[in-house]
Subunit: 308 residues, 2 copies
């Protein structure tokens, strides 16, 4: 019998669900906006359960062929306990035993993890990082984060917060970050700060997406803008390369659409500043899974439930 | 029958050997200066073999009770092949199959690894990092490095160069480092640069050791000197904490003798700049093995030969 897994990508804006077969193909989809349900935990959990049932209906598969449900969430997760400790962008979520609640409702095994870690699992098993033992998978968006695959498994650290690349400092002194630290990488290349920077260049607020369109049109100011952003990113990646010696760095998240305007600069800076030996075998790649990275990564949680 | 392992710490200045029992106790020692043998590979390898035989004689143990020889070396090592790829401070060592050569000479199994990694193994199994699953073990001296124990095993990375903390940049721009990069942590708190800084304070060159003696005597300028050094070190450690989320950071190497004058500043800076969640359970400890870390770590290579 064919087996399926449900992968769910919980974001602050959208919640995306996919039914995924054993080849990593998404055979049915569902999604809904987060905002209408963000006011209470209970309504969001109910909306999730309803959306899962609808997904199974759309997929036209026997429930017995579904191995389980994997969920990536934007915050602090305790995967061993199946607990959502804290979601910074969705109010009211503090120490919620989501695994237990959903398992009772749906009678399917549920696995949770942090979204950046889930995306790394996806790129590692099905995407641009396929087959690498040592892999760093960046997510560039409003937040800047990463998931680390080290020695062929997901590395979580002591409090499941390893990989917080957005809060690697670029300098000893610099602007305050919302995390309480200062000069953090995210404080320079997070979406909001890229938009602020774009406003300085063009005299009006522009999203990273709009700046990408300008760059595509060959606008010299936009190309310079992305070169500068890439320089800051690469300066942060020097620490990653020298500390972690990965085989591959995969760049994902919305900003990764501008990879063509950043790639050369990232490689040049790393070649110049990072140690020669670890730079030599290093590959820098764009995410392969794109928008589906969250769904596909979440289902890896279930398929490889033995991964620590 | 009791079992023993020979641990060898190869340094640019001294080579130290110890016969270590199964409790981690050094029951016999030998050592010699590196310089007289540094002119040729062959003479250094012969000196090593002679010193090992003398150590076994001093230990008064049956050679059959010796499980093997572990060696930590200051450079690029391929532990799987037992190859010394490059030693920056001992000329002429390039792709030397040291394991094979010594095994032929001595008829005992030989294991090699990089010195910072070996020290981390020692502190993890027998020292200040005993029992921790996620551990970063710093060596502060002429070079600044670290060994990483992640998920309960030594993490090496793609080219066995993971943990190069000395080459984490403190700033986007800064003084050139001998590695080819710039603004590296080692370029600020490596012994040579600490001595230069001391010269600025006192008008004459002073070693970190002498600066430690001044601090111990209560000299305000020396105390300020160590506080500044600790601030730079902690600024580098913010990246380590946010990326690796370790349970414990052990500080070793010669400069660690000044830990009492650095400890408070390191903790204050980390509490201020690093993410709250990973900082909470974090322990900062001084090395417990001190001068013997290299010998004791090298013998761990043999006792835990199955560690990847």
């Amino acid at each position: 019998m064919k087996s399926y897994v449900i992968g769910i990508d919980v974001g602050g804006t959208n919640i995306k669900l996919g039914l995924v077969d054993s080849q990593g193909k998404i055979t049915a989809r569902n999604n809904f906006l987060t905002a209408p349900y963000a006011s209470s935990k209970k309504s969001l959990i109910n909306a999730l359960a309803v959306a899962i049932k609808e997904l199974i209906r759309r997929g036209e598969v026997d429930k017995k062929s579904i191995l389980g449900i994997g969920i990536g969430l934007p915050g602090l997760i305790d995967p061993a306990k199946g607990m959502v400790n804290f979601l910074p962008n969705i109010p009211g979520w503090k120490n919620v035993p989501l695994k237990e609640i959903l398992e009772k409702k749906l009678h399917l095994p549920v696995f949770l993890d942090n979204d950046a870690k889930v995306v790394a699992l996806g790129e590692w098993k099905l995407g641009a990082g396929k087959g690498f033992e040592h892999l760093v998978c960046l997510t560039l968006g409003t937040g800047v984060g990463s998931g680390l695959i080290l020695d062929g498994r997901l590395y979580r650290g002591q409090t499941n917060t390893a990989g917080e690349l957005g809060h690697v400092p670029l300098n000893e002194k610099g602007p305050l970050c919302h995390c309480g630290g200062s000069a953090c990488l995210e404080r320079t290349i997070g979406n909001r700060y890229l938009s602020e920077k774009a406003a300085q260049v063009y005299g009006k607020e522009m999203t990273p997406e709009q700046m990408g369109q300008r760059a595509q049109a060959g606008d010299a100011r936009a190309l310079r803008f992305w070169k500068e952003a890439a320089t800051h990113l690469a300066n942060g990646l020097v620490s990653v390369v020298n500390l972690l010696n990965p085989r591959c760095i995969v760049i994902g998240g919305g900003v990764a659409n501008n990879f063509p305007y950043m790639e050369k600069t990232i490689k040049t800076v790393l070649k110049k500043r990072a140690l020669k030996i670890p730079v030599k075998p290093l590959l820098i790649k764009k995410s392969l899974l794109g928008e589906d990275a969250g769904i596909l990564g979440a289902q890896v949680l279930v398929r490889h439930a033995t991964i620590r």
